[in-house]
Every structure is written in C-alpha cells, then in structure tokens.
Symmetry: C2
Subunit: 79 residues, 2 copies
Amino acid sequence: MQQSFAEIIVFHRKRSGLSQQALAELAGVGKNLVYELEGGKQTVRLENLLKVLRVLNIELDFKSPLREAYMRERADAQG
Amino acid sequence: MQQSFAEIIVFHRKRSGLSQQALAELAGVGKNLVYELEGGKQTVRLENLLKVLRVLNIELDFKSPLREAYMRERADAQG
DNA sequence: CAACTTTCCCCGGCATACAGGGAAAAGCGC
DNA sequence: GCGCTTTTCCCTGTATGCCGGGGAAAGTTG
C-alpha cells in the first residue's frame, strides 16, 4: 500500500500544529498511545486508531479486486 | 463513505468459499475474532484486522485533504 | 548559556481482547 | 423428517493494550 499510518499521522499532526499530548486529548486517548501509533505499533485497538484519524481528518478506505463487484451487487439489491 | 469493514469481510470470505473457521485459521486468529469482526466490533487489534484483510486480499488506504501535499513533499525529498 | 516545550521511554495497575471449547440454532441437500 | 456444516453466543484463563505519572533527552527560542 502506501506509507504507514504512522508517517501519515505524524505529518498531519504537525501540520495541525498539535503536540502528541494535544492530539491525544482531542482524540480522547492517552499520550502514550499517540506516541506508539507514531512509532508504527500494530497492536493498537482499531477503535483508538480511528479516533486519532478522525481528529486529523483522515479517512480509511478499503480496496480489493472484488470491491467493484460488491458495489454492483449492492446497487442491484437496492435499486 | 463506504461500507464497514464488517460487510466487506463477509462478502469477501463468502466469495472465497471459506467458513469463519477456515478464514480464522488462514489468518492465524481465533474463530471468535472473525465472528466479532463480521459483527463490526471496533475494539479489535489493528494487527488482527490486518491479518484477516490480508488473507482476503483487501488493502487499506488512507485519504485526506492533506494527502496530496504529503505526497508532493515526499517526492520532493526523494527525487 | 537559560528557560520552556515536546518527545522518548520507563513503570504500576486496571480493563479487556483473545483463543478455544461447547452447545443451541440455522441453513442446506437429500 | 435426518444428517452435516456453519454460525451464533456463552464461558474461562491468559495475555496485553491502555492510562497516567514521571523524569531524562532532545528540540526550540532568546
């Protein structure tokens, strides 16, 4: 894929002029979690990653070869 | 924007002809985790979500308004 | 250099995600 | 109806993610 979420988080945080502590508070997580997230730790809870991404206005997207077929089926089912 | 990872996982798993148990084994996680993942549980470890997505050939992508600026900066720094 | 902010990295303790077993219910073909 | 497979949902022990505090190191500003 692209860069790790770690890099992206650091970049967005700094662009927002936030310290790790400030980001943590806005996201409602502990300061250590932000630190670990930025270190690329993968054993974090999805919930907490999402909280941080939300504050930084970053969205998560899924990609797969079957994705288009999925969209077609849904559109089909719903009209 | 898109569907939850839960829906996507179910869809891809069924398309692969796998049972929850089989997917769990391929991903190296417990069967209950697959069950919870498909139920949309957000308190799972990112690591485990990624393991399952990998088996199903689903990639994660990040999107943000600042993303382009990020890419430019990187390209700039590297070449 | 001094003063201040931020980041790094440790710890102690609590909360909870996880694996795996089991059993009832649901689905599916015959 | 009867089998067989799969899914749903419970339980329990263990592992570990998380928080808050703190202090050293690194960075920033003057």
